[in-house]
Symmetry: C2
Subunit: 193 residues, 2 copies
DNA sequence: ATAAATTTAAACCGACCGGTCTAATTCACC
DNA sequence: GGTGAATTAGACCGGTCGGTTTAAATTTAT
């Protein structure tokens, strides 16, 4: 049950730092300061900065997937309403964070996609896992006739979520949620039957 | 007319490096090596790394805007065909680069949006300039009845281009252009009248 | 109670970072 | 052809980077 510090808290702090400031702009010392641990403890838990980042990706995406599943499982409402509600909730979450962070997976894909195979492959795998979850609810919505049936549900999920990342980027650079709301309105206007 | 080295070439080399590897992962020495100049020359032309990056943003986006305008001005074809043709061309360009770079403006927006106000504001201004250009052709297409007229053309241009950036991110992390093609097909299927 | 194992703590390391400095070179102009 | 300004050249600087090390403190097991 542990000593003074615990791994999960450090990883959580790291995900906040990486999301807001990126990978290369965050040093080990920033991480140490942000949760008041000495360097020895850090290297006791993690092999390297890269290993740490891999665990940040893992924890963040597992939490995200669980969160998305919980939002999509409210069987009371229709599939389309659940998907739209999920994005609405995510928009609220980003607003609560001051529009300054965005999506860790997307951000790291951009920053490390050109150079760090290990981390960007890891991020990509987690992205695809999330797409699967969203895709299955889109399929449901198509079966109920709520969403145009012409497109492959999995492709549509990819389209939605990478478009949402584009909007998150606009949000981050402007520190303003309007782009998320515009995206929501436009996207769901376009895909509904 | 110059001595041995010239500024524009250094800026061009920098834009390649920043696009592929990001801002913080590229050091001054990487830039020097990539165009074989000594440090003294670099600091003769540029005040600092940040000043250099600002000039990279400026040159890259001015070139991009001119390029986009040239692609959109082929009055032989319809406005919609011109817009779609522009994205098709951009997809080809990214393929020619090995799908490893993406968009400098978008990439820097993600990496620096949370921390560097000067550079991210600069990037944002250039993004909006480009949106204006695309927006005006969308308006044209709407007047000709080629694109659904319900949406504001400027908002639609923002939607298109930030969605394209999302697809570029998928491309970069997968080193694969299929995501760009899927995006093209889906987007233009959805917005056409 | 004590020994073994683990975690905490921070000083320390070489490498590299962005940036400065001084000298040699090259150019434009008289 | 000589002169002053701009460019080229790279050694050099303090600071910070990711990472190592050694010892003290703490927890667990006996």
């Amino acid at each position: 049950m542990g000593y003074k510090h615990n791994k999960e808290d450090i990883v959580l702090a790291g995900s906040q730092l990486f999301r807001k400031q990126g990978y290369h702009n965050v040093g080990i010392n920033d991480i140490l300061k942000s949760c008041n641990i000495p360097k020895g403890s850090f290297y006791n838990f993690f092999e390297s900065k890269e290993d740490f980042a891999a665990q940040v990706i893992e924890q963040y995406s597992e939490n995200s997937i669980a969160y998305v599943k919980s939002l999509l499982e409210k069987k009371a409402s229709s599939p389309l309403a659940r998907i739209k509600g999920m994005y609405k909730q995510m928009i609220q979450d980003n607003i609560a964070e001051g529009c300054s962070q965005g999506c860790l997976i997307g951000n790291l894909s951009v920053e490390l996609g050109g150079t760090n195979d290990r981390l960007s492959t890891h991020a990509n795998e987690k992205f695809m896992e999330l797409i699967k979850v969203i895709g299955s609810v889109i399929e449901e919505a198509q079966e109920k006739g709520e969403i145009k049936a012409e497109q492959d549900p999995h492709e549509l999920a990819e389209y939605l979520h990478s478009g949402f990342f584009g909007a998150l980027t606009r949000m981050k650079v402007n520190r303003n949620p309007v782009y998320l709301n515009k995206w929501l309105k436009l996207t769901f206007g376009l895909i509904k039957s």
